[in-house]
Amino acid sequence: MEAIIAIAIGLLTACGVFLLLRARTFPLILGLTLLSYAVNLFLFASGRLRMDAPPLIRDGASYTDPLPQALVLTAIVIGFGMTAYLVMLALRALSESGDDHVDAKEKP
């Protein structure tokens, strides 16, 4: 399972960084979204990967670390808000310049 998670995180990060380096706003937003997926998976894995273990501490029962789950939840909410704002900003740049290039000039 470790190998699958590691490959998934690596692949998502690589695709995210590749898209982030594009010069158009739409691939940029997709890239940031992929990057945040990778980061969330990574945070989740930082509490160690355990199968069939609830994030509750009970006597004798096996449990998984609940803290990374709380961290991921916070990170997802923040990332979602940021992406929504970025989409609005990209739309505004598109309507002001008529072009989705990140270095677009004023509409003639």
Partner: protein
Amino acid sequence: MTQHAAILPLLIPFLAALLQLAAKGYGIAVQRAIGLVGASLAVAAALWLVLLADDGMVRVYALGDWVAPFGIVLAVDRLAAIMVLLTASLAAGALLYASAGFDQRGRHFHPLFQLQVFGLQGAFLTGDLFNLFVFFEVMLLASYVLLAHGGGLARTRAGLAYVVLNLAGSALFLIALGMLYGTLGTLNLADVALRLQAPEIDVAPARLACMLLIAVFALKAALLPLSFWLPHAYAAAGAPVAALFVIMTKVGIVSILRVQAIAFAPAAATADLLDGWLLPLALATVLFAAIGALAAMRLRDLTAWLVLASAGTLLVVPVFPQADVSAAALYYLVQSTFVAAALFLIAELVAVRRGDVADAFLPGPRLHTPWLGLAFLLAAASAVGLPPFAGFLGKLMLLSALRDSGSAIAIWSVFLFAGLLLMLALAKGGGRLFWERSPKHPHGNTHPFCWRRSLAVALLVSPALLLALFARPVSDYAARAAAQLHDPQTYVAGVLGGHAIERETRP
């Protein structure tokens, strides 16, 4: 009551923002009144915190009464108190200026402004690294919207680059936190400091996590390979927004200073983390900023480069663990923040009086406002470090504290040469703005006097004089703050209460 002093600088802007949102229907005057009352209360609360913190205790405020390291705590030492007071005063000045009309150029200026102050204060006060991330995001989200306030393609484009860069930075921040939690099992700064000294930790991932954390803070502080966003974003922002943004690079610098002094330097695994690379990069940042200032065509661009120069100057400091270097840096930080903020405001006041040439360094109409020229002279002289102003004292203290270090020659020559270049840039620009007239505009525009804008500029320029007049008490306080910062045992004991936490080892 005194035990709740630590939360006041957070509660006041947050409540003000909520009230302003609720009072949206009652017109801008009510929002302004709430904002200005809130900003004044925040200054008073911060002043109280500065006085309280001077007893040398680390005040810990456990949110929800969950003790560290299980709950999130606010930790107030002298350094945090100074930064809180600086932020509150800067915000009060910028808000007063914005209340003269800038706040009507877009929607929701006032609540966003208060939320950004909330994020800034939280970043200085928190004692937990994940909570630091959350406060960074609060501060950044408000700053994204404030940067675009006022509209125009230049602001949207600058905003887009700024948002994308900071979102990538946030992703890096989370990766660093994940690695830190994975290797050390804690995110409380004091507990991280303890765990880094434990012999059984995995050194390589811990070092990598700490390094990533420093890289994220360096992005906020605009260290050279990560600093190209700053001149663009700051010059595009509206004047009062840019004035508040000046403190944002300082958040990165203070974060580096704090994690380095409290957690990284005392642990053998991470003691040499900053050696060899931070000093050359910081000096390169100073030179880069000085050259950029020479090439700037407008006063607001020039001021953005000045912000970068002072950030580079301050980034030299974390390399040296001596308390006297940090003390000098704190004094320098306070005056450079005020002066740069004042210059952003002056740039806009000059721009509206010069019509279509605005604040570009071109001959233009005559300015009928000698007080504006005087304010510019004061701020510019302090920014480049000319006596008798506070900038001179700050630079002098910093240079003399660094005199005995091995790389003193490099630091002295870069600082002094960059100072000369900045002086040339400001002298050239100021001469063009205030003295040269173009034959096209023989009479010049008159502009109605606005007491709010003038008072805001006066408030932000006056520290250049006041900090020089009262240099002794301020630098003494800074020296005590630095001594406390470089005494990590007291901080750790103060936050964790002296009891070690037993842990089960993880796979």
